[in-house]
């Protein structure tokens, strides 16, 4: 069995990754990190650049968990990429980061996390960052 984590190169993504590594260890299964971009803008901060991808791999390497990284340019939304990966590997758990959002922001921006939560065929672990004081 496998744990799939939707990775984003920021604080929240790192938190989700930590949780995913812990889960994979506890469950004794391997880990698939998914990071994609639709490549529809000049700058996409949610897509790991080369240096960040290397950092991700070395972190996974150090964790000792068997892992794979899926980082590619996709025509689909990030949520669909995570779900596709989960179906393909028959994931038993998906780990995602969940941001704080106001209702208006929610309406406009939609939410990757929401689609994953609604459409996943397995359990989903939503990781939150502690609110800043």
């Amino acid at each position: 069995m496998t744990v799939v984590v939707g990775y984003v190169p920021n604080e929240l993504g790192e938190a989700a990754l930590s949780a995913a590594i812990d889960e994979a260890r506890r469950r004794g299964c391997d880990l698939v990190a998914v990071n994609t971009t639709r490549a529809d803008r000049l700058v996409d901060p949610r897509y790991a650049q080369d240096a960040q991808a290397e950092a991700l791999e070395s972190r996974l390497e150090a964790s000792g968990v068997p892992y794979a990284v899926r980082r590619f340019t996709s025509t689909e939304l990030a949520a669909d990429d995570v779900l596709t990966a989960a179906t393909e590997v028959g994931a038993e758990l998906i780990v995602i980061g969940l941001r704080h959002r106001s209702p208006v922001g929610k309406l406009l921006m939609g939410s990757t996390a929401q689609s994953v939560l609604l459409d996943a065929e397995c359990s989903v672990l939503a990781v939150k960052l502690p609110r800043r004081r």
Partner: protein, 176 residues
């Protein structure tokens, strides 16, 4: 790919588009020369009447068009423009161009019967989806918001009244 004016190797054998456009320029010139003769020239017009410049422009169109044709045939190919968002290697996606033009046409014919906000929503959301926006409903929400904001600010703030259309006629701040 940062330089803008590299020479591109001429790969396609017959530059149909280039010859077509240059031919169009020549044809327009011929047309201008022919039609210039039928412009009424008032007898009292003095030294230079309304026909003179049309003849000149027609001649310039023909000559420059022919010069381009000659240059293309000799292998001096025109070079498509470069830009930050233009992929150098991608081939032209005619479907996208066609859809954008079609949406623009729909927009033109919707302005009066449906009102500017509706027409603008169709244009914006449609173009965004054609250009790759996902999911489609978000493009519509953003398009609608943009159209309403523009309608309100032009009607209210700038004093340029756009037709609100039957659906929104009753909303006071959308009228100029």
């Amino acid at each position: 790919m940062t330089t803008t004016r590299q020479e591109r190797p001429a790969e396609r054998t017959v530059p149909v588009g280039e010859l077509g456009f240059a031919g169009g320029v020549v044809a327009l010139g011929v047309f201008a020369l022919v039609r210039a003769g039928s412009i009424n020239e008032p007898l009292t017009a003095g030294s230079m009447g309304p026909r003179a410049l049309p003849y000149l422009v027609g001649g310039a169109l023909v000559l420059s068009g022919l010069a381009v044709v000659a240059a293309v045939l000799r292998g001096h190919r025109g070079e498509a423009e470069h830009g930050e968002d233009v992929a150098d290697d991608e081939h032209t996606d005619w479907r996208v161009v066609g859809m954008l033009v079609a949406l623009f046409l729909v927009h033109v014919f919707l302005i009066i019967p449906a009102g500017w906000p509706v027409a603008a929503t169709v244009l914006f959301s449609g173009s965004a989806v054609v250009l790759g926006a996902k999911p489609w409903w978000r493009a519509i929400v953003i398009g609608l918001l943009l159209a309403l904001v523009l309608q309100a600010s032009f009607a209210g703030g700038l004093g340029v009244s756009l037709p609100a259309g039957p659906l929104l006629e009753g909303v006071s701040f959308l009228r100029g």
